[in-house]
Amino acid sequence: MKRVLGILSGVIFLLVLNLTIMPRLSSLHREVRKESFRIFLSPGLEKWSSFEFRVMKAFLYTLNLRVYLGKLIEESPVFPPEAETNIIKTAEVVTTINPYYYDIYYICNGFLTWDFNNAETANKLLLKAVKYRPKDWFFYFMMGFNYFYFLHNYEMGGTYIQKAAQIRHSPFLASLAARLMYTSGRTEIAIQMLRSMIRNIKDENWKKSLSKRLEALEAVLTIQRAVEKFMRNMGRTPVSIEELLEKGFLQEKLEDPYGGRFYIDEEGNVKTTSNFLPKEGKGEIE
């Protein structure tokens, strides 16, 4: 009986201790941790000291970063500059410990691009991701998106989204890559890529959708070649498609399958009023 009472009083004492002192101690500890975040050793040393528990260590460090960023979001809508360094440092360490870990790439890419406008570093990190997980389409897609949206590099954007489309066998991504390549002036590559995708697709609806895009790009290429020939012969940019038709550089008037109208801009680039997007209300995924 005495033993049971002893154990019970011990448990009660621990509970009282936890309820009275622990909250204060815990908040103090949180303050200290917020100030210093986590002082990392070099990535190599962190990997070395993980021994057999690399995945779990990477998980804990990532969780720590998530908690840290979550608290910063709660406190202020604008991140302090040191947060960027902390994200990059954590990413370096975690991807050295476990380069296969999906979450760290996802989190760091999200924060570095949208909150710190640092798409270059995000893409460097994603390069590591594709090195270790070459079959994961989403990393290629994120890289392509960063190039396109943040860095305005349509050519690279198209290249990476094309790679994502190949891995995922996704006509939607292929279509997107084709648009980016068209925007970057690489219409011929976009056409080749679409042709290869159409050959490999079994789904008839997707095939139809990609064929439409191919038709549009082929029309652009035909007009573009006529424009180039016109410029070589006449030494100037043609005013309109009609001028190409009148002077015999273009055999027939080509239609935009998306319902738009082709035109030539001041620099001689062929564009369309539809911007290769289906008219609203059709519910078509391109």
């Binding site: 190599g44 057999e52 779990m56 476990n98």
Partner: protein, 266 residues
């Protein structure tokens, strides 16, 4: 050999009676609760994180148990003067070493597979809720085999150090040393081979390279990432690892047996 197996049975029975075994049982129950907590914290690829958690836990608990059980048994033998009784018995000395080794391995086998089997239904329930990454049951149940190879090597080293030294603390520290060196040598060697290692003195480089050839490379048995991330793992690779583990263990055990056969026990 019959005596060795009898001694292995005794070791197994003694191992189950060691208090740390019950501590491990309670820890396992707590770890199952941890599995559910982890499930709510993970963002993506839940099956991979959960599987790795179970395998890491199995790894940790087996290492702790082997260390604690082995050295408490040795302490027991020293305290109760079992060694002296064994020497007096009409059995070969090597049967004691082999019995201890096989008993400990049987104990590790039961505990490691016990843990992964215990966790399996919970793992499946949680994975089915968010199956956002592939999960291979074959790889899950294959991992403990590689862990057991590592345990086999560590146990044989522990036996060797116990045979060589008179104090159990020395053998504990030496075995721990082999564990840490075995897991870090590969990384250290990689470091000195890269550009960063250019500042390392030549003597240290030679020392590291010698140690690399001398000590077992325990990191080869850590196939958790390979299993969790479904990385390429051929049969040839598996056979090389298994062969390496068995050959190294046999070599260490042979050295231990020859030392123990000639050891003076007073």
């Amino acid at each position: 050999m019959k005596e060795a197996f009898e001694f292995a049975k005794i070791t197994l029975r003694q191992s189950v009676r060691v208090k740390s075994f019950y501590g491990a049982l309670i820890m396992t129950l707590v770890a199952i609760v941890g599995l559910f907590i982890l499930h709510s914290f993970a963002m993506f690829e839940i099956p991979r994180i959960l599987m790795n958690y179970v395998l890491s836990y199995t790894n940790l608990i087996i290492l702790l148990l082997v260390f604690l059980t082995f050295f408490s048994l040795i302490q027991y033998d020293i305290d109760k003067k079992t060694m002296q009784y064994i020497v007096a018995l009409p059995m070969r000395r090597r049967d004691y070493i082999l019995g201890r080794y096989f008993g400990l391995m049987a104990f590790s086998f039961i505990v490691s597979y016990g843990i992964v089997i215990l966790f399996y239904p919970f793992l499946i329930i949680l994975i089915k809720q968010r199956p956002d990454a592939p999960f291979s049951s074959i790889r899950y149940f294959l991992y403990p085999l590689f862990l057991l190879l590592e345990v086999s090597l560590i146990s044989s080293f522990a036996l060797l150090f116990t045979t060589l030294s008179t104090k159990s603390i020395i053998s504990i520290l030496s075995t721990l040393g082999v564990y840490f060196i075995g897991h870090s040598l590969d990384d250290v060697r990689e470091f000195i081979l890269t550009g960063y290692g250019s500042d390392v003195p030549l003597f240290s480089k030679i020392l590291i390279k010698t140690a690399w050839y001398l000590f077992p490379n325990l990191s080869v048995f850590d196939v958790k990432i390979t299993m969790t991330y479904n990385l390429r793992f051929t049969l040839t690779e598996a056979f090389i690892i298994v062969g390496y583990g068995i050959l190294y263990t046999v070599a260490i055990l042979l050295i231990t047996l020859s030392v123990f056969d000639k050891k003076e026990i007073l």
